[in-house]
């Protein structure tokens, strides 16, 4: 059900605004890409406002076409030295337009106003908004096609699928509390990307039933849920800080010392080529007890 949302959110705009045009446009760009490969590669001027898409661009070997990205586009290393058009949350329209891009990658709801501006300026855009792992894999294919690197995309996705399938389902599914903010306490609900990664890694999100995507939670609700593993997905607090919270001493995760800090959040929040690394990381943390024994 979440995938349909993701699909609705994605699509190429610029030549027209309907979602149905996505395929048409991608075919058009592909034809341009295949027909005169040399010419089109030098003409392709891509701006990515989405860190996960920036990762895809490099992973399919189209890094050269990228003329601008955001301050948050930190992976791979080469992405750091690219021209910056501002923050992910507030990119600068003038800098983007000055780059004369032939395609801009953006996401919603963050870049709603920019999307309308680009439509006015007739700058082609692609909206990235994958709702789940499957949609993220499809998006890698689509982005690769748009960049004229279809085969690289296909082999990347095939490799990712193989690695995903090789992660064996485990018998025990520990209860997990993933904290994304310490003041106030905030976690990820059932509809989020990170929730799916947790499930794939063999865990059970204790707040999966939440209606909100990133709900604020009451401390006592965490005590009552008694998680067996706590993942700290914000940098300002350490495992020791969490263990020192009044009343938290009785939580299974605290008793067993299973609070994990300083995790690479980008692996868990970015629906890009490294999601499988995210699942592998989580699987290792969630089942570290069994692997050790």
């Amino acid at each position: 059900m979440k995938s349909s949302l993701g699909f609705l959110g994605s699509g190429v705009r610029g030549f027209g605004s309907a979602n149905g045009l996505r395929r048409l446009v991608s075919i058009f760009l592909m034809v341009a890409g295949c027909g005169q490969r040399q010419a089109s590669e030098s003409e392709l001027r891509v701006v990515s406002l989405v860190p996960s898409v920036t990762e895809i661009v490099y992973a399919v070997g189209a890094g050269k076409a990228l003329v601008g990205n955001t301050n948050q586009c930190s992976f791979p290393e080469a992405a750091r030295s690219a021209y910056k058009v501002g923050d992910f949350m507030s990119p600068d329209l003038e800098r983007i337009v000055a780059l004369r891009p032939s395609l801009v990658f953006l996401t919603l709801p963050m870049h709603r106003q920019l999307l309308d501006k680009f439509a006015e300026l007739k700058i082609p855009t692609y909206v990235s908004r994958p709702g789940d792992i499957e949609a993220a894999l499809r998006e890698i294919d689509t982005v690769a096609q748009l960049l004229g690197h279809r085969t690289a995309g296909e082999s990347l996705v095939a490799g990712m699928r193989r690695r995903l399938d090789s992660i064996a389902p485990s018998a025990d599914t520990p209860r997990v509390y993933a904290e994304i903010s310490g003041t106030p306490l905030m976690t990820a609900g059932g509809g989020t990307f990170i929730n799916e990664l947790l499930v794939r890694a063999g865990g059970r999100n204790v707040f999966a039933s939440s209606a909100q995507e990133y709900p604020v939670v009451d401390p006592e609700a965490v005590l009552a849920a008694d998680p067996e593993v706590i993942l700290l997905l914000h940098p300002d607090m350490s495992a020791r800080d969490v263990a020192a919270r009044v009343g938290w001493g009785g939580i299974s995760a605290v008793k067993k010392g299973r609070i994990y800090e300083k995790l690479d959040e980008d692996l868990l929040f970015r629906p890009g080529p490294r999601i499988v690394d995210g699942v592998v990381l989580l699987a290792r943390l969630l089942h570290s007890e069994t692997t050790r024994s």
Binding site: T183, P184, V246
Partner: protein, 314 residues
């Protein structure tokens, strides 16, 4: 109504039932493996609610009496926002400074109190409208500055919202729970001190000139009430953020029950403030999963009352 014993019974019943509800109902349920710890958290929250509600209402009652101003309260005078700003600044400065949040809250509160009083004083007189206007303007300014401090300090937006709209659910650590213990004791002491000034406040509320002819050192009383109020509000806000309307509305309700004498109004406000804040918190945390900022609930009750005050008493 002029039957104090009956009114007292009513207020105490309100507080006891609010306390019972706040211990019995919560997102953690009433069973499960960590029930003991959940109960401890609820008791801590109960104490915080009693202290915060009591302090805000007592300070509101004292300021209203002192300034002969029915609209004076820690929130309308901008003092709560000032305390929130002081607290935010200490939090943003870092972990060690964060332990001094109550001190930052007090400094912000006192500075705001003096600033607003100075702004409102035109030709030696502080008018009702002048004070409220100065308070509202200062409050707007300081709310923006809280937001600015939080953004520059890379804190979350959620934290800024809770700081400006109040809550009773801070996550205590081993250290902060001791600091809170000290704050709770100091708060009760501060309220008792204001209570001991009931007689002077009674005389002040009939006008400054009259008070001086009756031998009250008005300067001294004003200074003392300002400083105690700032200490109290600053400390409370550093834990709960800025909670609106309790300090404004509760004293008026209590005066309807007991009449204007401060030796009744002040303790009555403490009990009623504690009870009403606890009830608001029960609503705020149980209606919506994850809880609402407290001022949403207190404002929903407080604003109609505020309008009533504006239209009938001024």
């Amino acid at each position: 109504m002029r039957r104090p014993s009956l009114a007292w019974a009513g207020l105490i019943l309100l507080l006891v039932s609010a306390a019972a509800l706040s211990v019995a109902i919560g997102p953690g349920g009433f069973s499960g493996t960590n029930l003991g710890a959940v109960m401890n958290l609820r008791l801590l929250r109960l104490v915080l609610g009693v202290v915060a509600g009591g302090v805000l209402a007592v300070v509101g009652a004292s300021l209203q009496g002192l300034l002969q101003n029915p609209l004076a309260d820690p929130f309308t005078m901008g003092v709560a926002s000032g305390a929130a700003l002081g607290t935010s600044l200490t939090l943003v400065l870092g972990r060690t400074a964060g332990a001094f949040a109550p001190v930052g809250g007090f400094a912000g509160a006192l500075a705001t109190m003096l600033l607003v009083y100075a702004l409102a004083r035109v030709r030696g007189r502080v008018t009702v409208t002048g004070l409220v206007l100065a308070g509202v303007i200062t409050s707007f300014l300081f709310s923006s500055l809280v937001m600015l401090a939080m953004i520059l300090g890379r804190r979350t937006l959620g934290e800024a919202v809770y700081m400006m709209m109040g809550h009773l659910g801070p996550v205590f650590t081993g250290t902060t729970v001791w600091i809170f213990g000290a704050v709770a004791v100091l708060s009760i002491a501060g309220c008792a001190w204001l209570f001991s000034m009931s007689r002077s406040l009674d005389i002040m509320s009939s006008g400054e000139e009259a008070a001086e002819t009756l031998g009250v050192d008005t300067q001294q009383v004003t200074k003392t009430v300002f400083v105690i109020s700032s200490v109290l509000v600053g400390m409370v806000v550093s834990f709960t953020g800025a909670i609106s309307f309790v300090g404004l509305v509760v004293p008026h309700l209590v005066r309807m029950l007991f009449g204007p004498e401060h030796r009744r109004v002040l303790p009555g406000s403490f009990v009623a403030g504690a009870g009403i804040l606890l009830l608001s918190d029960v609503l705020a945390r149980n209606i919506v999963p994850g809880g609402l900022p407290l001022s949403i609930v207190t404002a929903l009750v407080g604003v109609p009352f505020f309008i009533y005050l504006l239209r009938s008493r001024l």
